[in-house]
Symmetry: D2
């Protein structure tokens, strides 16, 4: 396929550039007769919206979603749903330096090398602005999954600073600008990020997203395993460099006795005594929490001058002025949640198709 679609039965196709007239997504395959209003989608977009604290970009992106199709009298019809978000508030005037120079860590060079042309305004198609479409589609995915499935996310490492998992409180996540579940860590991060921001540098992050209440049996072996699709879904988010499920990389250091989650019956149902598997065995959900962790690299746009080359093949330097996130990882939380929802919704439909 052409590259801008995701999913098999519940299927997104996104389009649009950072500084074009609009961005959007066609959401195809939604079951009919699900109540859906623009406000249902706006709710999740607002969580991703920048400019909500000094730790995210000060650009103003109202990100107002419009539903152009697929909904009739407040209900989905089964037809494709076009969600459109107009781009407003871009300052496209001056792209002098960026126009000809490849910013290190960005997709500037590779787009140029691949396509021989590139929309350099704000990153064009490679801008993280595309993730607004994912969040919008994720809102519909959540509707398909229903209230029994709960999807939440948190930042668990900011730069080199990890949280203490013993202090994890889901409630804390909403109380600080970092989606941090550890109140003490959140305080530390505030100073850390302020310092980073002031000197025009940036920091990476590790995010954890969790789905609870997922039924047993989702996932299609062997190439459409649930974890395979999740890995792809997450890795395609801008700036993500790593994905793990359950114990993840730490599993390599465990013994077989420690790693394999034992089972016991409890009230007539299978209960796992641990969750190193992260809720997935053989590519199929176990009914436990699905736990996905991913790393976001530090924002590549920083104030320090960097060595690079230009489109004419000359060595040049570049530094990024203007408004940027000191840590893009923060805004990746609602995006990671959305992609988890999208993958689960697709597999829910696929499972129903084959297994009834």
């Amino acid at each position: 396929m052409a590259g801008n679609s995701f999913g098999t039965l519940f299927r997104l196709t996104t389009w649009g550039e950072s500084h074009g007239p609009a961005i959007g997504v066609v959401v195809d395959g939604t079951p009919p007769r699900i109540p859906l209003a623009e406000a249902d989608i706006q709710h999740w977009l607002d969580r991703r919206k920048p400019g909500q604290s000094r730790f995210t970009t000060q650009r103003r992106e109202p990100d107002q979603v419009k539903v152009l199709s697929g909904v009739f009298e407040g209900l989905t019809t089964g037809a494709p749903i076009q969600l459109l978000i107009e781009n407003v508030g871009q300052r496209s005037k001056d792209y002098g330096e960026i126009k000809d120079r490849f910013r290190p860590g960005h997709a500037d060079y590779t787009y140029w090398a691949k396509y021989g042309i590139r929309d350099y305004r704000g990153g064009g198609r490679a801008s993280a602005r595309e993730t607004a479409s994912r969040v919008a589609a994720g809102a519909i995915a959540r509707k398909i999954l229903g209230d029994a499935v709960r999807i939440r996310g948190a930042v668990i490492q900011m730069g080199p600073h990890k949280i203490d998992r013993a202090r994890w409180e889901w409630e804390a996540v909403e109380d600080n600008p970092f989606w941090c579940p550890d109140r003490q860590a959140a305080q530390l991060w505030e100073g850390f990020l302020d310092e980073i921001r002031k000197r025009g540098s940036s920091a990476g992050a590790v995010i954890e997203v969790v789905a609870s209440g997922v039924p047993v049996g989702l996932g299609e072996p062997v190439y459409d395993k649930l974890d395979g699709d999740l890995a792809r879904a997450i890795m395609t988010i801008n700036a993500v460099k790593a994905v793990e499920i359950g114990a993840g990389f730490a599993a390599a250091a465990l013994s077989g006795e420690e790693n394999a989650d034992e089972m016991r019956m409890e009230s007539g149902r299978v209960r796992f005594l641990a969750n190193n598997a992260g809720g997935i065995l053989g590519g199929i959900s176990t009914g436990q929490d699905i736990v996905v962790r991913f790393a976001v690299k530090p924002t590549s746009s920083i104030l320090t001058p960097r060595r690079t080359v230009d489109i004419h093949g000359h060595d040049v330097d570049i530094s990024t002025k203007g408004r940027h996130d000191p840590c893009v990882g923060i805004r990746a939380v609602p995006v990671g949640e959305a992609m988890l929802a999208v993958v689960l919704a697709d597999h829910l439909l696929r499972h129903r198709a084959q297994c009834g």
Copy 2:
């Protein structure tokens, strides 16, 4: 799609169970007029073959591949290539315990819950035996990529024991039974694994696969990014729980200055001064080495009795007798290499389609 296919233009469809009459793969989309003999494929299968040292399972799987279609007078024709490997040497006689009990860490429970039926003999479809088909297909992918692209892999962590990257020698990889690039680490691992094996336990591993000579421009943003497809390709390998590209999780702890790879012109070509990106920016190859790292959990089949449940809903214990790998991660090296080759071959064709 149905779940047993991978790739868009260069496309695998695998089939077969561990203890059925045969396993195999249909490889579709191979360009015509590529010289291909069974020996070209057998070469790579032999590297994956078990029973080559005391550190891999002592099962005898000759894994002799037959080419049933798509090749005529020694050349590919463009038609689908069916590769078939007969299953010989299974000891299917006694599955008493395994038949009714779910082995912790295996797909037994999830297959049963999803399908209501499961071929319990040797793991059935969920067996790592399926990876032989991947390796066979990978041999064709390498032919498509040609000699300019070199794909290699190594185990870089065995259980908790990491290599020292300063001692990395690619030549060392062929000289020890662990594909270990650090000769000192290899010696240490020998004692470690012997001990693990003797007490019937198991260890995990971390593998690194690297592709050199990959042209700039492979990868299709935004959902078919090269790293997205690699993440899926690798995560669908049995027992894999984590995937990272370039600096991976470590990128989260870097500053923007440290992470973004700078560029300079050198002999008329763009040269990157580091490779934290692992050869991929914006989902598109940069021309640098593509570096993928992944974690394999410890073999779930161990001698120690484990708590579990059976298909009748009773609490029971289970321990695995018979021949098993103390570390399945070792045999994952040729599989990881194969999946890297498969993804690159697919994207080479896709890039040629759109960009000529």
Copy 3:
């Protein structure tokens, strides 16, 4: 997949209902650096536009296309191209009868039965208005094919009245409101259709679309044969009930000697002495004209009261007031041309991918 996409590498995803705010199409996979302006697309949309003669519906659909993405400084970038057409001039006020009653020959009943909900305004998603998106996408497909490939169409039968192929003049097609290549037939049809229109009835039509200059070798056996994809592309156009290639149904009555097109060398190239194959053998283009013929049923909306049922399970009658095409087949000509272009563009890219 979800059902609203077409094509593998050059891929459309359409969305929108007849009486919603807008319709549109995401065109993914377009090669980069192709000059593309809104006017290039508008040209073809204008040919499909209704209200141009008394023989097509008098509804006013300005069908003004907007390019929202994928084009930068007048050139395609390789990113998805969103084409949006606002819906203006619908008279949605009064749907009294249609709201609850299933119009015979329309998709009213099947949408209701399938989805349990239906946007009844103007046919909703099932409206032929969707074909505007096809025509818009077809304009981009023509750009990919380039000037060497010429795609034209004509109505060759109006109701029971066939043209005389001996009088075929391509120039005539532009000179009458029926796209009729036979000037005498066009005159006859005028009276015939006037009579049909006046008594509120409708007529079917047969359309022929032809692509000249198509290179040898397009088409992917065996399930993605060029004729297979064309058959699907054409059959999914509203009201189409039959598709044939070359001699089509007439081939059944020929002898083997008459049917198989002989070959001779001419100026160093293979020349076929006839074209019963319609330019396709074994699912692959021969280099001859590709000839596709299809039947469009008579417009189902007519003045005569018809027996039907309503959503409450009662027997009722229905007749359609308002503006309707006496023969929808006329406006199917540019749509058939567009779908032919779309299929050829996709296969051009696919052929380049596998065969270089």
Copy 4:
């Protein structure tokens, strides 16, 4: 995708050449726990088998199917089912003429032009032998559809000789070697075909396949309409040049009053008063019989010398010796039935996925 697969959730991937060691098909996406034995598949293969009368090729193709995967203890497991048919009884010795010369009406020239190589033995991949895989897969599709859905086919025109539909008896179909539902026509055809066969010529045919008992609601608008998928499924069968649904081409000559099928309630269910729609409206099944008609061109291999060219670019003549069907259309009946079953099974699963 690569071209040798069909279907979205119920998905075939076929492989193999006429004179290679074997042909086969991977059937993916079958629901679990369906009873399936080799005999269930063999039953349908035997109906397609050549050499059963003097009107089909005298080649001996025992076509013995083997189930290599996906079935355990007599039940499907949900895993991919590999069906393998060994090629026996080919006389591959002498391909002198055919090796270098392009047979008119065959895919020889286009395969050569596309791929630059071709397996000329018996047509290679382009041989109608591939249709045995379709029939085998169709047997599984019928199992998914269950007994409530009945799929039957008949030859309704042999060369120029049509049946009289007033004399249609389904029982007659099994009583003559032509699957002819009109006993009088069958007698006429016997003489006609004998004469054709004796002078080494060939005849085309028109086949009608019908599915009864199909539930309302199958089909995914707008590009995966049921009729769109059927058109593609049928058009990809070897030698097919035309497909129509319901009234098909004849619909063009009907008036709106005649064509649109009226409805009435009957015993609480919707009943259509005619079936010009062929059981499909708006791409979705109506619950009526699904009626598909298609034309098969006359066998291109005939005794009469034909003008052609060779791979060296010389004008040459060619005539086909050996065993060939005077009318390949006869053997297309079980193939058409199989493809109808395959499309319906896929859409049954897809409908269940989206609409529950």
